[in-house]
Every structure is written in structure tokens, then in C-alpha cells.
Amino acid sequence: MKLLKFELLKLRKKSRGWLGPILVFVLIMTAFPLTVEILNKDMGQSFFSVLWIAILLVMMLATEDIFLEDFNDGTLEQMAIKHSSLSSVIAMKIFIYWLLIGLPISLIGALYGLGITNSSDMAIKLIPVLMITTYIFLNVFSFGNALSLTKGSILGILITMPLVLPLMVVLGKVVIAINFGMNFLGFLFLLLGILSIIIIVLPMIISFVIKAHLE
């Protein structure tokens, strides 16, 4: 709990770290309507592809220095020594990132969904989907950035983006399911299932990677 507070404080003090990604997300979503005709009826269709891509990009940016500063000033090493399980520390770190970045972005994204499709049903159903998706992305990109810890985030993106691309197919299907009132809950549980595996397995792998970096 103390650690949770510590991480929360650390990220909150660094406004570039949490406010930056949210503002970038808002900017991308605001720039998108400028590129199409104002009264274009098809805007609702392309909106979702832009939304998913924007979320993908922003989650990448958000995790860019999730471990780097701690690694450089030695905090990570101290944590690896002090705490018996580094993976729970990492899981907490990712959770804090999700709380400060993923959650607001899910709400803002749903708001944009309401603004563009004019359907409150869509917006409400979008919130859990976005919440789960942002959490999955944060986990996967943290893994990539842990692998390429001192080598810059381009490498991290290059190696982890192929891993999440199949998820984009599922997200596309979710939108179709909501639009046609089909089996939306099924997809939600599928995403939850993926999340529940990732949330346990990836922090363990990340802690393994970080220990290898510290050697």
C-alpha cells in the first residue's frame, strides 16, 4: 500500500508523464474531424478506427519511460533487492499508470464516442471496452519498453506492436457487435479473459527481463 502511494505520488508529480498522453489523445481525436467533411455521415465509421489507433499510439507514448528513470537512478535495483517479488511492484506500477492515464482516456474516448455517434448506449458500452483495452496495451508496451530499456522506445514499439495487432481485429468486431446489438458481452468477456492472463503473466516476464538488465 505504501508502495502504491509512492508510485502514485511519483507519477502525479510528473505532469508530463500522465497529463501529456491524455492531452495528446485529445489532440489526435480533435484533429481527426478536421480532416473530413463536417457533415460527412460516414464519420461514425472511421471514428472507431481512429479511436483504436489513437489509443494504441498514446499507450505507447505513455509507457515510454515507465522503467527508464527508475533504472537510471537506481530505484529499480533497490526495489529488486528490497521486495521479495519484483513482479508485484511492476504490476502496481502499471496499475498506477492505468489509473492516471488509461482510465481518464477511456472516459474521454467514450465522450468522443457520444459526440460523434449520438448514441448513449454506444458510449456506455464503450467505457468497459476502453478500460480493458488500455490496461492490456499498457501491460504489453511496458513489456516492450522493459526489453529495450536503454535502447529507446522505437525498438520497444517495433517488437511489441505485432503482439497487439490481433487484438485490433477483436476491437473492430466489438464495434460491429455494439452497432448491430449482437453478442457484445461475449466480446467483453473475451477481452477480460485476455486481460486476466496478461495481468498475471506479463509482470512476471517483465521482472525477469529487468533482473537480466540489472545483472
Binding site: L155, P162, P166, V169
Partner: protein, 243 residues
């Protein structure tokens, strides 16, 4: 006895000498099989009723796509061996398979595109199978660039192995993409459990081409792994004697 054999074989030195001895046999036999299958497939079988002669690229496309996925599985297997038993040889193998996997995936993509023009009327479609194969290609390139960005080879081996294992979740998705989504790409014609959906006169040369192509790719892996071993063990005295 098996344990002893594995222990001996796992040493890069023994591997190199054994492989050097076996290499010409594997190469010429598989080349013979592949060329034979090509001859059979290109000249002795009849035209396809629907596709005409254009289907004959199957003798390159199917082996290449089969190999591109199998190589990834091989890499995942070798990575697991490396992470669990710390066998150095399997780390070298993972690194040496990656570029060859990239090449075979590229061949599969290009031959698929060429095949697509006469049959589908387009050389590219945003279709689940094609996209997932493209992702596999990018994954291979990402693996290579991850390994090359670290100067410390031991660290690089470890990270590469981890990424290969995590990335192997994509392989079943590529394999099943034609079953799970309705795609332009057809489903597999040959499966283990069912009767093949392809005429025997085309099936046998196809099997021959798959076996021959696999043999040729194994030879490439051998050559590439030799390069890796000689590069990494260049300070050992036996390497100096060997070269």
C-alpha cells in the same frame, strides 16, 4: 545414452563437426526431392479445372508458408530450451533461424501476391491470413533488430528468447485465421486429421516439394548457425584450428 548424446551434441564444437558431415547429404537429397517434385508438378500433372496453369505456384507458396510458421515454432522451442537448461547452442540457433524465417515469410508473401493476380484479381487484400503473415514477417525483423541492438550477446540471447516465447501466441492466430474469420484466402487443403481436399496427382508433388523445401531451408539454417557459432566462439582455440 540419449542423455550423453544430447550433452555432446549440445556443445557447439560437436554440433559443428557433426553438421559439417551431414550437410552435403541433406543438401543434395533435398535438392533432388524438390527439383523432382517441381518437375512432376510443373510438367507431369494436368491443368487445374478452374485456375488453369496458375495454380502451379502452389509448389513454392505452400512450402514457404508452411516453413515460415514452422521455423517460428522451432525458434520458440529452442528458446525454451535455452531459458530452461541454458544450452548455448540453442541460443545461437534462435538467432540464426530469425533471418531465414524472415526470408521464407517474404517468399510466401510474394508468391501469394503473384498467385493472387490471376485467381483473385488482386495482388493484395486486407485479409486476415495475409495480414497475419505480414505481421509474422515484421516480427522476424523485430527479433533481429532486438538482438542486434545489444552489444552484450548473453543479454541479447536472453531477451530474444523471451520475446520469441511471448510472440509465439501469434502463431495459432496465423494458423487459425482462415478458420476463425471469413477470408478471401482459402482454408488449408491438407490437414492431419482429414482427407486432403486436393487431387492425388497434385498432392504427391506438393508433399515432395514441402519435404524438399524443408530440407533446403534446414541446410540454410545449418549454414547460418555455423556463422553464428564461429562468430561467437571466435576466441576458442578449436575455432582457430577449424578455420
Amino acid at each position: 545414452m540419449i542423455k550423453k548424446f544430447i550433452h555432446q551434441f549440445a556443445s557447439p564444437k560437436t554440433y559443428l563437426f557433426q553438421v559439417d558431415r551431414a550437410y552435403p547429404y541433406i543438401f543434395y537429397i533435398s535438392l533432388f526431392i524438390y527439383l523432382g517434385a517441381l518437375f512432376w508438378g510443373l510438367f507431369l500433372t494436368s491443368e487445374d479445372f478452374v485456375q488453369g496453369n496458375s495454380y502451379r505456384i502452389i509448389y513454392l507458396h505452400v512450402p514457404a508458408s508452411f516453413i515460415s510458421q514452422s521455423l517460428y515454432l522451432g525458434m520458440a522451442f529452442a528458446s525454451a530450451i535455452f531459458l530452461i537448461w541454458k544450452v548455448k547452442l540453442s541460443a545461437y540457433l534462435v538467432r540464426s533461424i530469425a533471418p531465414i524465417g524472415a526470408v521464407t515469410t517474404f517468399i510466401a508473401l510474394v508468391s501469394g501476391a503473384i498467385w493472387g493476380i490471376p485467381t483473385w484479381g488482386t495482388w493484395w487484400a486486407w485479409d486476415a491470413r495475409i495480414i497475419s503473415t505480414l505481421i509474422l514477417f515484421i516480427m522476424y525483423l523485430g527479433l533481429i533488430s532486438l538482438h542486434d541492438s545489444f552489444t552484450d550477446n548473453e543479454k541479447a540471447d536472453k531477451f530474444l528468447a523471451i520475446l520469441v516465447i511471448v510472440g509465439s501466441v501469434n502463431i495459432p492466430i496465423i494458423k487459425m485465421s482462415v478458420e476463425w474469420w471469413s477470408t478471401l484466402h482459402q482454408t488449408a487443403s491438407i490437414t492431419v486429421t482429414e482427407k486432403p481436399a486436393i487431387d492425388p496427382s497434385m498432392l504427391y508433388p506438393l508433399f515432395g516439394s514441402i519435404i524438399g523445401f524443408t530440407g533446403i531451408v534446414i541446410c540454410l539454417v545449418i549454414l547460418s548457425s555455423k556463422v553464428q557459432i564461429l562468430k561467437r566462439e571466435k576466441n576458442k582455440s578449436w575455432v582457430k584450428d577449424y578455420v
